[in-house]
């Protein structure tokens, strides 16, 4: 799949360069449209997308209902905020962004159906959406068949690369390896216990983590357990953890199961200030449900925490709270979702066009300096270069930044030696 995608990326790039040069004089010669400095629609939209002289339509496709609404609400909010901010700055190529929101209803086929509707019926210029790997897998063939552009916000398992998707979250190696290295060095950890929800992302992540622990860190994995999504009974696995006494509990339990897991862990007398626990699935959003007192002391490894101390984040967090309420929290994925509309805007402006092929080709190298997580850049493989950070959960539900990689970590969706 990636081979095709790579080929697809190269040739349009060349074409885009040529066309870009050709388009420059054309724009300057055109009479002024209704919008000041807005290039003519016919020049920036050659494939019949929903772009008018004043507006451009994008789609937002997340679950507003069903079990995943818990997680995806934050992404919807972040995307709406980004769109509003972009519009306040004058929009994209002089056009206001209008969005059509569709509900994936936590149901993967519905995601595919709605994605198709957005592309075929509404002709949206880009889709910000999906959360679970399953929904992305369902949507991907649709994006490729009808040539759409998806900005996908979640950290995910990798093993995928498409011309039609920009992955604004981290892929597995990017997220996990730095965290494992850190905890092995810092805590002298040698034995690990893996526990995850039973689906592709935790399984792939744990596979990568296991290879890294065994081959690179020369440690041992003393247990690996999976529970069905939505499970609420973890007492048995907690007993196994007590029996095997691992140096580190490594978790990728998702959704509501998290709440049960951490509450029962605490109730079983496992003190997270003494027992090291590294999670790659708990963001500030989840802590809202878990309760800070149940998880305080745990380490999380991802690219963004709400408490990050940088100028971008200091303007982003208040803006988000102003729009969505003082009590809302911002997790890693919410921030990644916020990047989607911005990266799309920057790419469109770089390409000088809304055409999907040109955006796909122009994406590599696009930089976003205003990201709340700090500077990010799109890699040739359509993933983001980003830093990986380790935070420690505090009682108030926020993370305290403990460690961050010195440089941006290169995304590597098909890691050699980890498959």
């Amino acid at each position: 799949m990636s081979d095709e995608a790579n080929k697809g990326l190269l040739s349009p790039l060349r074409r885009k360069l040529l066309m870009g040069m050709a388009a420059v004089p054309a724009i300057t010669m055109l009479p002024k449209a209704s919008f000041a400095q807005a290039p003519a629609t016919s020049a920036v939209n050659t494939t019949g997308l929903a772009v008018t002289d004043t507006e451009v339509t994008v789609g937002i496709l997340h679950s507003a209902t069903g079990t995943m609404a818990i997680s995806e609400t934050g992404s919807i909010e972040a995307e709406k905020l980004a769109i509003e901010q972009i519009n306040a700055m004058g929009g994209v190529l002089g056009r206001k962004i209008k969005f059509i929101q569709e509900d994936g209803a936590s149901d993967w086929p519905t995601f595919a159906e709605k994605a198709k509707k957005l592309l075929v019926n509404d002709k949206v210029a880009a889709i910000m959406g999906c959360w679970t790997s399953a929904s992305r897998k369902a949507v991907l063939p649709v994006m490729e068949q009808y040539n759409g552009m998806l900005y996908y916000p979640t950290f995910y398992e990798g093993l995928e690369q498409s011309k039609n998707v920009i992955y604004t979250g981290q892929e597995a190696t990017q997220q996990i390896l730095a965290g494992l290295n850190w905890i092995a060095k810092e805590k002298g950890a040698k034995s690990f216990f893996f526990i995850g929800s039973d689906y592709i992302w935790p399984r792939t992540s744990n596979k990568i983590a296991r290879k890294h622990v065994e081959n690179v860190l020369k440690g041992k994995v003393v247990g690996e357990e999976y529970y069905a999504l939505g499970s609420t009974q973890f007492n048995s696995v907690i007993n196994k953890i007590k029996l095997t006494k691992p140096d580190v509990i490594f978790t990728d339990v998702v959704g509501g199961s998290n709440v049960a897991f951490y509450k029962q862990l605490k109730a079983a007398g496992i003190d997270l200030s003494k027992q090291a626990l590294l999670t790659i699935s708990v963001t500030e959003d989840e802590i809202d449900g878990i309760g800070g007192e149940n998880i305080a002391g745990a380490y999380a490894c991802m690219k963004y925490f709400q408490s990050l101390d940088n100028p971008n984040n200091k303007t982003f967090v208040p803006a988000f709270k102003k729009m969505w309420g003082e009590k809302t929290v911002i997790g890693d994925v919410t921030q990644a979702a916020y990047l989607g509309p911005w990266l799309w805007k920057l790419t469109v402006e770089k390409a000088g066009s809304f055409d999907i092929d040109k955006i796909a080709a122009a994406s590599p190298g696009v930089e976003f300096k205003g990201a709340p997580e700090g500077y990010v850049r799109i890699h040739e493989n359509h993933h983001l270069w980003s830093k990986t950070r380790v935070g420690r959960a505090k009682l108030d539900g926020q993370f305290e930044l403990i460690y961050e990689t010195a440089d941006l970590v290169e995304p590597d969706p098909f890691p050699k030696g980890y498959q």
Binding site: T65, V237, K242, G289, G291
Partner: protein, 308 residues
């Protein structure tokens, strides 16, 4: 797999594992008691049972937030008030639902399934609109957190003990109400022969309404207790519904003792399986065993002999 561990370790793990099974048992009993009354006694298939539980959980959450902001000095005791409020809220909603919906459907039990399924969809959406799609975390008073330190390797979770005590209390209470009180006799009379019960002067409509309300109220208390171990979100209720029905059916629908026995056997089987294999496979095997036994013994473990 046990070669590497000392006998002492293994011993305490078996104790802990037995305890885990007991907690699961309490959870199942709490879930199933309300349904055993509604389904077992009245024959109503209440697919919205989980949503009544979640209502109790949300009431607990609201109580806890209220105490936190207005009465922080009494916070340590709020949970008891929360459970009572949860009972009242779920019970009241249950009675309303009975009056609006269920009483028209007593002659069509399978239709109650469809109607209550519709109800559960609406309740889920109502929770989502009112409380938001995100899960809420209920903060517990300090004394309910942590564990009792029995030995170095045996720790007994306090909230587990609390859930067990609560289960015993409610079970005894329900048994008393159903088998000793005047009202309980009326309920059983209506179950066994509605027409005759009416003929001897029992207000069957009122009995129905209060029975349904009681079942829903217990669901509310269960939901309130579950905030200690699980999560509270608009769709959390759906997770419980199949397990709950299986426990009730496996026990023999009209028997409280059967419900308890079936909860015990299912929970112990599952927690034993869980220790030896992955959680998903444990669940599959437990359910398969239950379905298999039900095929051999369709009336459940304890069957009440009633003339049809």
């Amino acid at each position: 797999m046990f070669g590497d561990y000392s006998l002492g370790d293994l011993g305490s793990i078996f104790v802990m594992q037995g305890f885990a099974g007991l907690i699961l048992f309490s959870v199942y009993v709490l879930m199933a008691l309300g349904l055993a009354i509604i389904f077992g006694q009245m024959g109503v298939i209440n697919m919205a049972h989980g949503e009544f539980m979640i209502l109790g959980a949300y009431v607990t959450w609201m109580t806890s937030s209220f105490f936190q902001s207005h009465l922080p000095s009494l916070f340590s005791g709020y949970f008891f008030l929360a459970m009572i409020l949860a009972f009242i809220a779920s019970g009241a909603l249950g009675m309303l639902v009975e009056w609006v919906l269920i009483r028209h459907l007593y002659k069509r039990p399978l239709d109650t399934l469809l109607a209550t399924w519709g109800l559960s969809l609406m309740l889920q959406q109502a929770y989502r609109s009112v409380f938001g799609a995100r899960e809420v975390g209920v903060e517990l008073p300090q004394w309910m957190l942590g564990s009792l330190h029995v030995s170095d390797s045996i720790e007994v979770p306090i909230n587990g003990v609390f859930v067990m005590c609560l289960t015993v209390l409610i079970t005894v209470g329900v048994a008393y109400v159903m088998y000793k009180s005047r009202w309980g006799r009326q309920v059983r009379a209506v179950v066994q022969n509605r027409i005759m019960a009416g003929a001897v002067g029992i207000n069957t409509e009122k009995v129905d309404r209060y029975t349904f309300g009681l079942g829903c109220g217990i669901a509310g208390v269960a939901g309130s207790a579950f905030t200690m171990i699980g999560s509270t979100g608009p769709t959390s209720g759906q997770l419980y519904i199949v397990d709950t029905f299986l426990v009730v059916v496996f026990g023999g629908a009209a028997s409280l003792l059967g419900t308890i026995a079936s909860a015990f056997s299912i929970s112990q089987t599952q927690s034993t399986f869980e220790f030896f294999m992955s959680g998903s496979m444990a669940k599959v095997l437990t359910l398969l065993a239950v379905v298999g036994i039900l095929m051999l013994r369709p009336q459940g473990l304890f069957a009440l002999k009633v003339r049809k």
